[in-house]
């Protein structure tokens, strides 16, 4: 069994992998940024009065939530250049990271639109009524009363979506991104697949630590922001 599994390869993998964590975070960070912006727009469409806008926004959300990440990734990576081809635009020189960020932004936006929508709807209408009754304008009421409360409700779900994004982002290696997952893949290929298990174990520990860190961060954030609300504690 010694020939097949050697624990030292686990420890050796860490210093090789850790420098690439920043690529993973870069992709995640950009995707969160663009995805949240798009998510707000979609949520506004869902909550607004236009039936057409609602159908589009809901259709978009359903389509993206039913699509596996690698399928979406390949559709964007191969599909967009092909569409551009038809207009005579050559996209073959564009860095693949752009396509990756587009893919995960689209995906994150679908998730965020639901998070934002349900957080907004969970705020009692009476808060808004009281705000305008004391003389706040609609905009002031939303900004000072509704939004801060909705933010706290949305926070845990945002954290979950963020974690999902980082995990799904690992699939970017399939089109050649060298983030922490891509590097692991390279290392294993370089060894002709020997001691793959050890490298994957190291990789999983890295992801595990990142998830726990993010989870703890969001728990702290929830505590900080929910001064005026009761927090339910699951065991």
């Amino acid at each position: 069994m010694e020939k097949y599994f050697n624990a030292k390869y686990i420890w050796e993998s860490f210093p090789l992998l850790i420098p690439y964590i920043k690529v993973t975070f870069l992709v995640a960070g950009l995707s969160v940024l663009f995805g949240t912006l798009l998510g707000f727009i979609l949520a506004a469409m869902k909550l607004g009065n236009s039936k057409i806008a609602q159908i589009i926004a809901n259709g978009y959300t359903t389509a993206l939530r039913c699509t596996p990440s690698i399928v979406l990734l390949f559709l964007v990576y191969y599909g967009i250049p092909k569409i551009a081809e038809n207009f005579g635009v050559n996209l073959s020189d564009i860095d693949k990271i752009i396509f990756i960020v587009i893919t995960f932004s689209l995906q994150f936006a679908a998730a965020m639109s639901e998070v934002i929508r349900s957080a907004y709807q969970s705020i009692d209408r009476g808060q808004f009524e009281a705000a305008v009754s004391v003389g706040l304008s609609n905009a002031q009421a939303y900004r000072r009363i509704i939004f801060p409360q909705a933010f706290v409700v949305a926070l845990p779900n945002f954290g979950n979506s963020l974690l999902e994004l980082i995990k799904e982002g690992s699939l970017a290696y399939t089109i050649g991104l060298i983030d922490v997952m891509g590097k692991a893949s390279l290392i294993i290929d370089g060894r002709f697949n020997a001691h793959a298990l050890e490298t994957y174990l190291a990789l999983s520990i890295i992801y595990w630590v990142i998830s726990i860190a993010i989870e703890q961060l969001f728990l702290k954030l929830e505590k900080v922001f929910s001064k005026g609300k009761q927090v339910i504690n699951p065991t």
């Binding site: 409360q149 005026g228 609300k229």
Partner: protein, 251 residues
């Protein structure tokens, strides 16, 4: 000071307000009584535009506002003069008691912060919550929350305060403290329009009682007139149901 003329409001097929006229003078404490569904709450909510009436006018001092077509500015102006106390308090959950009271002053009326805090503290003192300036609604009992709600309305120094069943959501033992506060501000001469089931308040504090049923005002008069000498059959039926059995009417 405030005169409502011919207000109509329907929700879908249900016509809730079928033409209501009401006049309130400065210093009046008007109590509206009536069975549920009679339109009392809807009337109040139409006055400060939480609901948009289908028809009707509100004459406020010199201004005559069409309730259906009022502009944003007109609505905003009226809300500066009319304050509202909600049945479910509707305190801003993310703000302390003091912040709740000063929010409308600082943001809605651009009162400087220091001045607003002074006014806010005085209002909270008036309702007996000097110890609770920095408490969050979640830390307060129902009665305390409603008192903050009243302080929030009082601090705005409005021409009239609307009370929508202010004690209906409270445990019985907490009702008293809120009614006491309301009595005190009535004594100070605040103009109040109150929808309530608390007959003691109607009898002891109001100077006018209005009985509504089925979307119209059936009868109105002084408390003495309404409680001891109701003229309309419907008024008598209602009073018989809500007052203790041995209450005698003098016909």
């Amino acid at each position: 000071m405030l005169e409502i003329k011919n207000i109509h409001k329907s929700f879908g097929k249900n016509e809730i307000l079928k033409g209501v006229d009401l006049r309130i003078d400065k210093g009046d404490v008007v109590v509206i009584l009536g069975p549920s569904g009679s339109g009392k709450t809807t009337l109040l909510r139409c006055i400060n535009f939480l609901e948009k009436a289908d028809q009707g006018h509100a004459i406020f001092g010199a201004a005559d506002v069409n309730l259906k077509t009022a502009s944003k500015k007109q609505i905003h102006d009226i809300r500066q003069k009319v304050a509202f106390v909600f049945q479910n308090y509707n305190l801003f959950n993310n703000k302390t008691a003091l912040e709740n009271v000063t929010e409308g002053l600082i943001i809605g009326r651009r009162v400087p912060k220091a001045e607003a805090i002074e006014i806010g503290k005085k209002a909270l003192d008036k309702v007996g919550l000097s110890e609770k300036y920095h408490s969050y609604p979640i830390e307060l009992s129902g009665g305390q929350q409603q008192r903050v709600g009243i302080a929030r309305a009082v601090a705005l120094n409005p021409d009239i305060i609307l009370f929508d069943e202010p004690t209906s959501a409270l445990d019985p033992e907490l009702v008293g403290e809120v009614l006491t506060v309301m009595k005190n501000i009535a004594k100070e001469g605040t103009t109040m329009l109150v929808v309530t089931h608390e007959m003691s308040f109607a009898k002891d504090v109001a100077n006018r009682v209005v009985f509504m049923d089925g979307g119209v005002i059936v009868e109105e008069g002084s408390p003495k007139e309404i409680f001891t000498n109701p003229k309309e059959e419907r008024t008598q039926q209602f009073l018989r149901r809500v007052l203790p059995e041995d209450y005698i009417f003098y016909i």
